[in-house]
Symmetry: C2
């Protein structure tokens, strides 16, 4: 579409170092002063003394903790160091994307080391500082979603599973393959929602349509699935045709706020992250409007233990407008309409595992990705995937699955044993 | 203890009708005016037009709904009618307790009919009106707990299970006996907490000690269990001696705010209702203080879908100081300390079933109860138990079990399948 195609899909170059920083080898530029060291040590302490090593531009190492460092960050110049200390997340991401800042050792381990330690209140203010400018109005959401999900289905095909499921999988055991784990996730969701053949389901934010097609195929329901990503909807429609399910699964290119009609179940997997806190009541109103007295609902989202925006770099370059809610914040969707929360499951370790699969596939396809985009894009997405592994494995991010129903609906499952049979 | 023994344990008589209302048969008093009828109909509409019949003092019936009435409320005089319309919950409970207001038909069905319909905003303001005067300070909590839990172990023995478990049971299937369901509940809790032999557990609000003893006996842990009910602690200590567990289970007559030491797990079943919203952060601080990096926690509480105090009569006569939180409100305990919610299960239908067992046993023992207290006490407790059945069966009250852990603790169960094996 004409308005969206003007939005840049690539990672723009920012804060490129002054030419002199690397090219001139003058003593003034390469010298590491005692002020540099003092500042860096104070900064590392404020960051919770993570088990990382910082290698400065003269080759000198600075460590915060006594513990052995997982990996090392190579800081190329004073300008990068100062920017890291004033906008840690943004500067790290930008310098890493540009290739100016390099990591020696395992990137996931480095990021885990950073996430594992509690930062000081001062550093927390620093980390929370950047405002989020990406409003999730009807128009803003289209822009935000287009930036991430319309990078091309060929790109996502390189590293997602065969069905292009781009949300946390469910591994009955950790060794299960990614393909099987995505199937198991879809079945887990269907059981939680208690789908019965012949029922009508609405799905808000359906990605490439895998869950909608699974529900129709395996559970005999009819589905109306909404999404504002042009490329995803086109793919999903073609898939429905191919599988002979076009009569029972309708893919609609529209915003969740425009969902109409009544359904037996409301399902949303991986959309709430993109709704934004300001619009939780809108979403609640939509769910309230479309569920009758026996209606059930299901929300699956990345979340937090305490209120905190996404990493500033992620929000700026990867997921504009996104926000991971706490369980308390999620209740802004459900509480105003008296929905009854029946079940909450936190699958954060499953998301860490899912992301490890994605990262490994992405690395194997990195040459193809570089030829589709460029090396800066490869580095940005490597950082995003590695950072996500680290965030879930250290409990900085959570994955909440919330099942709910109308308060008077008593035909709810007696126990949860049926999820495990 | 001297200060507590002065607290009245019985239901005080209130709002006795003027002698003339029933004794004088004058036309002025027994006549039902068109204003009475008009007011009552308007009131019933505001209450959501419940499927109940109101029989007035002249024998005339007034119904709100077209639907057949579940049961009838006999209103003895105009004064009671007017009081019902200005303080519905309080007046109903008081007049029922006094024996002035009678119910024809099944009390649970009548109350379910009342709970099942949505009240008007005006009626909701009326229902929310009474302030709650029972502060949960250290001293206030002792008073509040004493009023309910120190009614005498002999009384509770008449209608609870053999182990005196006075919280929602867990019925693997609805037909399981109450005794087995309480055992199943204790096992369910232990599995959710992931107890390992040799671990140390702290329990806040331990009732008569059944869970603490179960954890030590069946899972080989040592337990420090806190409670401010004198009678319950005395019973629990005797029980620990009898079972030879006194060396591993320590029952402490003290407030949860005074819990000290470090433990592998924090468990609290049926205490949060008595903590009061003002003190959720205190409770969170206690949990934060006593759990190390691998610590796990568990909270089991009566709750709501949206913020609403207990029924005014219940709060005044049955559970002074109690409040059933929403899931959002519960997060005030956990979110400030970054606890990671792993699992929430809503067992409201299990509590309705538990309460039906208690009510049936209570009815069978009602003559004994009357001889221990009086008929007013029997009616008050009948109303409390029947009202609780109705509240849980209609989704007015919820039962939340919330499992949580420290954010960095990765030795959490991979799935929840182990709860169902």
């Amino acid at each position: 579409m004409s308005t969206e195609s003007r939005i840049p899909l690539f990672i723009p170059e920012v804060a490129a170092p002054a030419a002199g920083d690397r090219k001139l080898g003058s003593a003034r530029l390469t010298r590491v002063s005692s002020a540099d060291r003092w500042l860096l040590r104070a900064f590392l302490r404020a960051m919770g003394s993570p088990a990382v090593r910082v290698v400065l531009w003269n080759g000198e190492s600075v460590c915060a903790a006594g513990a052995p460092a997982a990996a090392a960050v190579q800081v190329p110049d004073r300008r990068t160091l100062l920017r890291l200390m004033s906008h840690p997340e943004l500067a790290f991401g930008e310098a890493y994307t540009d290739g100016r800042l390099r990591v020696d050792g395992d990137l996931v381990e480095l990021l885990e080391a950073l996430y594992r330690v509690p930062v000081s209140p001062w550093a927390e203010r620093l980390l929370r500082r950047p405002p989020r400018p990406h409003a999730n109005t009807l128009r803003g959401s289209r822009h935000n979603i287009h930036r991430h999900y319309d990078l091309g289905n060929d790109f996502y095909r390189l590293w997602l599973d065969a069905r292009l499921v781009y949300t946390c999988a469910y591994f009955p055991t950790p060794a299960v393959s990614l393909e099987d784990a995505q199937l198991a996730k879809m079945e887990h969701v269907c059981r939680k929602v208690g789908l019965q053949a012949g029922e009508r389901v609405v799905e808000a934010g359906c990605g490439w349509g895998a869950l909608a097609l699974y529900m129709a195929r395996q559970h005999g329901v009819s589905v109306r699935a909404f999404n504002i990503s042009t490329e995803q909807i086109a793919y999903a429609r073609a898939q429905a045709q191919k599988e002979g399910l076009a009569g029972r699964v309708e893919f609609i290119e529209d915003d969740y706020r425009n969902v109409s009609g009544q359904y037996d179940a409301f399902v949303s997997v991986g959309m709430l992250e993109h709704v934004g806190m300001d619009h939780y009541r809108d979403l609640g109103r939509v769910i309230d409007r479309c569920l009758p007295a026996h209606g059930r609902g299901f929300l699956h989202t990345i979340g937090r233990n305490r209120p905190l925006a996404f990493n500033a770099w992620t929000e700026k370059y990867i997921f504009p407008g996104a926000y991971p809610p706490t369980l308390r914040e999620m209740m802004d969707v459900l509480e105003p309409y008296s929905f009854s929360v029946l079940d909450v499951e936190n699958l954060r370790l499953h998301y860490a595992t899912t992301l490890r699969h994605w990262l490994a596939r992405f690395e194997r396809a990195s040459d193809r990705v570089a030829s589709m985009f460029d090396d800066r894009f490869v580095r940005a997405w490597r950082l995003y995937l590695a950072g996500s592994v680290a965030a879930f494995s250290t409990g900085s991010l959570q994955l909440f699955q919330v099942s709910f129903a109308r308060p008077l609906h008593n035909a709810i499952p007696w126990t949860r044993a049926h999820l495990y049979q």
